[in-house]
């Protein structure tokens, strides 16, 4: 099932908030997971798995290292769904 970019961003923001406590409105497309949001690699793995469950997509481990910004993640999920 295809998801819109807005849906994925909103869903990702909820997942990030749930895992890290970062406010959902701080999760913007231009934000870098590490540099801006201070999300560590362990939290990132949990976020990835929760995204897979929520959006019904598969995010391969080798792809995770390319997901540097919120936009990277949103665009990958939109195209994979």
């Amino acid at each position: 099932m295809a998801h819109s970019q807005a849906d994925v961003l909103a869903g990702l923001a909820e997942i990030v908030n749930d895992e890290t406590g970062i406010a959902t409105d701080a999760v913007q497309m231009d934000k870098h997971f590490t540099n801006d949001l201070d999300i560590d690699s362990i939290s990132m793995m949990t976020i990835v798995v929760n995204c897979e469950d929520r959006f019904g997509v598969k995010i391969p481990d080798e792809e995770v290292k390319n997901l540097n910004t919120v936009a990277d993640a949103v665009n990958f999920i939109v195209s994979a769904s």
């Binding site: 895992e19 890290t20 949990t46």
Partner: protein, 411 residues
């Protein structure tokens, strides 16, 4: 030269209360923290023992959702108690490199381990939480405290079953004596009220089976005692050199006068019936405290309410104190809290400190018919402690033949 070590902060979350004050007040009024466990896993696994001393205030009511998610329940209790103790000590500004943590657990992150195994079985390896290892490791609680309060002088975890947190306090004493650090948070935590540990302790006939009357199940020294009752929680003490405490104008609860650890090399679970190892631990503690048996005015006993354990401890005490023992007021506070395993020693250290500081020995409840083989002066309603420099000791013993004793002196 021996330094004087003092206690300047206390924190605890226990089956009696979510903080030291509530716990202490309920203890003094003779309440029990033991209740039937309201959880679906009791029926699901047909756990033979259906009650325990669960934390009076769930950690989720105190910590953030993210802290709950990233910490095993044992570490959650550790953090809650350490923050309370640190605040109680006045949230001092310290040199991080001269601030250490000595914090124990008996069992470690058993909920995390078993939940992860269930996830592995049901949903596969990719769904196992990446935080599983740091959450289950036994040094996790100590590390969580060290990170939270920025302790960089060494974070250590003594693991010696039910003697763990008394050993941690003893280790903190020694660490402070070296002069390497000025201040230490010491204590212990446990969160093992789960179907597996309950079933395993029940399988070895260590637990009381008084399912129909939980509040009366933990009954140290009573002729009808039939085993211990599991408890959970965490307790922390802020310990520092007297010099450091006075320099910052800290309030002082008591002096930590000494602590010692010995081992039985007798049996993996049974206490040495002669109690020689436990007796050596008491004597070594008194020697460190520069005290004699006449100085001991109160004993907070290990006394878990098992038929053999309570007698073995009595024999050890008799060995040390002889005829003097009959005149020393003893209390067994596990009658109210249950047995918090790796947290027990730290919880009971706090009770011993407050007994000296507030001049009130907390009562032993459920002592309806004292075992004639244990003719101790058991305190059943709050009682004072005589002596400006009164000394009180707290004992803890653990599977593996571990004996740990600490002594506190009125300050």
């Amino acid at each position: 030269m021996t330094k004087k070590i003092v206690v300047t902060g206390l924190g605890a979350t226990t089956p009696l209360g979510g903080d030291v004050r509530t716990t202490w007040n309920r203890l003094l009024s003779g309440q029990s923290g033991i209740r039937t466990i309201e959880a679906e896993w009791i029926a699901k696994h047909e756990v033979p023992v259906t009650f325990a001393g669960q934390a009076a205030v769930p950690a989720a009511e105190i910590l953030t959702p993210q802290e709950i998610k990233r910490l095993d329940p044992s570490s959650q209790f550790a953090l809650i108690s350490a923050r309370e103790a640190w605040a109680d000590a006045g949230s001092p500004t310290v040199t991080p490199e001269r601030f250490a943590v000595e914090y124990s657990t008996g069992i470690g992150g058993v909920w995390t381990l078993l939940d992860a195994y269930e996830t592995l079985n049901e949903r596969g390896p990719r769904r196992v939480l990446p935080m599983t290892v740091p959450m289950l490791m036994p040094n996790g609680p100590a590390a969580a405290i060290g990170m939270d309060l920025a302790a960089r002088g060494g974070v250590r975890t003594a693991v010696s079953a039910c003697a763990s947190s008394t050993e941690a306090i003893s280790n903190a004493y020694n660490r402070l004596q070296t002069g390497e650090v000025d201040i230490v948070i010491a204590g212990g935590c446990e969160a093992a009220i789960h179907a597996l540990p309950l079933s395993a302790f029940a399988a070895m006939h260590a637990l009381s089976k008084r399912n129909d009357d939980p509040a009366a199940a933990s009954r140290p020294y009573d002729a009808n005692r039939d085993g211990f009752v599991m408890g959970e929680g965490g307790a922390s003490l802020v310990l520092e050199t007297e010099e450091h405490a006075l320099a910052r104008g800290a309030k002082i609860y008591a002096e930590l006068a000494g602590g010692a650890v010995t081992s039985d090399a007798y049996h993996i679970t049974a206490p040495d019936p002669e109690g020689s190892g436990a007796a050596r631990a008491v004597l070594a503690t008194l020697a460190q405290a520069g005290a004699t048996i006449e100085d001991v005015k109160h004993i907070n006993a290990h006394a878990t309410s098992t038929p053999v354990g309570d007698i073995a401890e009595y024999n050890a005490l008799k060995r040390v104190f002889g005829d003097l023992l009959a005149s020393i007021p003893v209390t067994a506070t596990k009658s109210s809290t249950g047995h918090l395993l790796g947290a027990a020693g730290a919880v009971e250290a706090i009770f011993t400190i407050l007994a000296l500081h507030e001049n009130k020995i907390p009562p032993t409840i459920n002592l309806d018919d004292q075992d004639p083989e244990i003719p101790l002066d058991v305190v059943t309603s709050p009682r004072g402690i005589e002596g400006e420099k009164a000394l009180a000791i707290s004992n803890s013993f653990g599977f593996g033949g571990h004996n740990a004793v600490v002594a506190f002196r009125r300050f």
